[in-house]
């Protein structure tokens, strides 16, 4: 998946620059609430249950302060990606034990046979592996800049 294709699944309504929650489950609830508020997804309870189960399987908090809560749920009809940030950081059971600051939530319908969400996950993981990109993501203040950073067009 190219970055152009990736950003088509993102939107300004699903851009959360300042998370309030400081505990893992509270973060999952806040992220779910933001998805319900900013997209056509209505059944937050089902989304939250899926995200909690996914974390039980193994934390989606990887190293370098980035987490990717993700999974398939009948509650969404197309690939939906939310970006969120916590300046303070959250204990998200990350791989390196450090605080998590950047969150990419990826929700896909079960009928996503092309495994679009795994492709999107792979693309974002590849982008944020670069320290410079992570640094810029910590600073972005609007959705357009987020897109520029992901497309690596930021000044």
């Amino acid at each position: 998946m190219t970055t152009d294709e990736l950003v088509r699944h993102m939107s300004a309504e699903l851009f959360v620059p300042a998370l309030d929650a400081t505990k893992k489950d509270d973060v999952l609830q806040e992220l779910t609430g933001a998805i319900v508020e900013g997209s056509a997804v209505n059944d937050g309870a089902v989304v939250l249950e899926m995200l909690r189960n996914r974390e039980a399987l193994g934390s989606t908090g990887l190293e370098a302060g980035v987490a990717f809560p993700h999974g398939r749920t009948l509650a969404v009809s197309r690939l939906t990606i939310l970006f969120a940030r916590s300046a303070k950081g959250v204990d998200f059971d990350s791989e390196d034990g450090g605080k998590t600051h950047l969150f990419f939530v990826l929700l896909a319908p079960p009928q996503d046979h092309g495994n679009l969400y795994l492709q999107a996950l792979g693309r974002i993981a590849e982008l944020v592996r670069q320290g410079e990109v992570r640094g810029q993501l910590m600073e972005v203040e609007d959705f357009d800049t987020l897109v520029k950073v992901l497309k690596q067009e930021a000044a």
Binding site: V46, M50, L57, S59, R72, A75, E95
Partner: protein
């Protein structure tokens, strides 16, 4: 944020999502991809526990109906998109979408799958 209610349709959707997750975690190809990206998938047993807990909240006759349809049709529950059952692509009568039916588990009259309005 709302938690799962006692609504049987919602519990069945959560169960199907969970079963999909277990299947993906056990599928060698998906597992390989996710692990290569750095995601640990070590606690499938916890998902099995969650599955047991969810099943306990679902009425036995409803669970039996879910299993029967899943055995026959793959997915027991399918979303309705634009008044169309995405299991068999036939129209779902609009009477089914009324609030009167909000607590009921509705089946498609054509394919028999349970319907979910996402």
């Amino acid at each position: 944020m709302a938690e799962l209610s006692t609504n049987q349709a919602q519990l069945l959707v959560a169960l199907q999502d969970l079963e999909e997750m277990i299947q993906e975690a056990e599928d060698p190809e998906s597992r390989k991809k996710l692990e290569a990206m750095g995601f640990p998938l070590e606690n499938v047993d916890k998902l099995r526990d969650a599955q047991d807990e969810l099943e306990e909240r679902i009425k036995p006759q409803m669970l039996a109906r879910y299993r029967r349809i899943a055995d026959r049709s793959g997915k027991a529950i399918v979303p309705v998109v634009g008044n169309v059952c995405t299991g068999c692509f036939t129209n779902v009568p609009s009477i089914f979408t009324s609030k009167v039916n909000a607590e009921k588990v509705i089946s498609c009259e054509t394919c028999g799958r349970m319907l979910y309005w996402p």
